[in-house]
Amino acid sequence: MFEALQDKLNKAFRTLAGTARLTESNMREALAIVEQALLEADVGYKVVKDFMASVSAKALGEEVLKSLRPQEQVFAIVYRELVALMGPGDPSLHLRDFTKIMLCGLQGSGKTTTCAKLARMLAKSGRRPMMIAADLQRPAAIEQLIVLGQQIEVPVFADTAAKDPVELCQRGMQHAGLAGADVVLIDTAGRLHIDDELMTQLRRIDEKIEPHQCYLVVDGMTGQDAVNSAKAFNEALELDGVILTKLDGDQQGGAVLSVRAVTGVPVKFLGTGEHIQDLEPFNAEQMAGRILGQGDIAEIARRAMTEIDQDEMRRQQEDIAAGQFTLENFRDLLRQTKRLGSMSKIMSLIPGMGALKGMMGDADVDQDFGRLTGVIDSMTPQERRDPDLIDQSRRRRIAAGAGVEPHEVNDLVKQFDMIGSRMKQMMGLGMRDRMRAVQDLQKQMTSPGGLARQKVGTGKRLTSAEKARIKKDKEREMRRMRRKEREGS
């Protein structure tokens, strides 16, 4: 997300970096680029104007223009203002002994999917959620929720013969009490904010059921009108929060920046994919960092904690600690990393990796990881335990099995040796250092010349100048990270 915005903002900051002396006029120039970038990213017009007014007021101050590092100051101002604009977030569902949560929004915004994502998250945290299929409008909306409920093993209260969603919700609530549910999620029908009849219906549900939390689900791809509809829903219902969906892959996503300013209610979660686990708690600092291209380690750490099979992890760590890091462990590690979500998505969360992804050109990271596990799969168990066994004929067999070139099998084994020794080192480190080591490792695995195959566009090799630039960028990124690390501790 935000690739286009990131590019343009970077351009604005570069403009500043390139000037020998910062003047009010070149500052204004850079700020104009920022403004245009925000508008083109679909941030609401008024929101942009207010945002720019407050950024400009600060950036054009004497202290900044005369400071030693004005560029960095401007960067910091934009960062802080972004945080202020979008935050504070509030990922808490404010659960009590029995919690009623209602989701509402325009047609097709992602309510049903988000309902199931929330239910799964709640179930994983030990709650007993139940969902009510209160969309009696859209054909097969009820079936959709039932199917999702089965997938995540969360009960769904539904009645295909029901006519009145208010009455259905009331029955659902009674049922929830009997069934011992402690959180009830209501999936309502999509409606336009100007549809009086349906908005009245929503208000009736709200009055009769009195949900503790009412969230608006907003499509992250919406343009300038997001503002109007969010405002109207908030006026009708007094929202407790907003959930933005479809933020995966979209280059704009300006609604994330507008919605808090317009409604005054916090952004709770972000939907970042069609799959049921693609839900992230919203955090304004992280988001501002992502918009400015700084990535977000905390998010990966959180996911790693909940998604990775803890037992398997422990087993592996024991293996590694015992000095047995085999190709088999390596493959499991790759699979586990993969389970966190798509590799390219994970990369965009890691500081500097976004840029790295760009440098890798068109390389399909996910496919690369698939290929790597493919190679290991083609080996016999003996070969996996002892790669030294792999001679020329074995190599040819493995390559044929995995559909790669024989030299790629070699490359993999070589890289594995290196990673293996690093892994063993890592076991001696504390959690924090380990996290950093993992990042370094991931970098190596995906950097040009690393494990993943280099695929720039149609497969052309990098020129030495390009390689040098990439190396420099990487080093700079590493320095930056080390610096941050120092500052943080």
């Binding site: 992602g110 904010h193 343009g223 892959g249």
Partner: protein
Amino acid sequence: MGFFSKIKQAIGAGLEKTKRALATDVRDLFKKEGRDGRLVDDVFIDQLLEILIKTDMGVSAAKEITSEVKNRFRGRVVFMQDVLETVRAKLRELLKQEEVPVKMAAAGPTVIMVVGVNGSGKTTSIAKLAHRFQAEGKKVVLGAGDTFRAAAVEQLTIWANRLGVEIVTAKQGSDPASVAHTAVTKALADKADICIVDTAGRLQTQKSLMQELTKIHRIVNRLIPEAPHEVLLVLDATAGQSGISQARGFTEAVKCTGLVLAKLDGTAKGGVVVPIRQQVGLPVKFVGVGEKLADLEAFDSEAFTEALFEGLVEEREGAGAGQPAK
């Protein structure tokens, strides 16, 4: 029948539901000045820019229009109609497109493939299209090619049953290309006139899913050389600038032939069709104006532009031709 009432009829019932008129916004610009007009200064230009950007037409198209206004009227006191005429003419020019009816097969079934991002309105638009063709006495076969989203097949099946048209389905998770293959084969065997193939929503940035679309396209094409005769990209009218990359991305994977602009019954103005028209060159073929079968209208760029200025058009016609509005 007057020109404007004809336009009203062309857009039909849908227009009543749209609250998208630019006219009221522009009128507000002139409110303070009363009947004497107002000065075109930087403040005015800025306000006009805001109005235009809020339509989602994008910064550059909006600036193109405001600079035209600036060139003509800057520093002068003008009346609303003068500015409005300029804006309208420019917008009409930006939106201008040939009339592009659905391309029909010379013989045998016409195959229409429907694509778009998640939740944009594909399945509902398919039901509406089928309804439309049925009303023309055509025999329709549907292919439930969204085998990914939970109950997507059921959704289209419910529509097919309501319409009484044939539908080809497969269970969730099966290969959409094979559903398309079966549907087209059935349309050929049944001598149907139209075969509409639904697809799962996907984001234009998801490479492997875009390849899946290319595959469906290829399979259909293998059965009938000119097929698919139409590849319609369904765009949510609330879509912002991401609509441009949607149009680009989908056209790259499966040469799209036109747009369906769904959900135009809200307050969104669907202005993103302007840059799409400019940069990708896709014509809008239909607009969706509600959730019912009848809520689909053929797109007419003149009517679309006029609808944005509706209130004022009537006022003007009333004054000019001496006819009462409505």
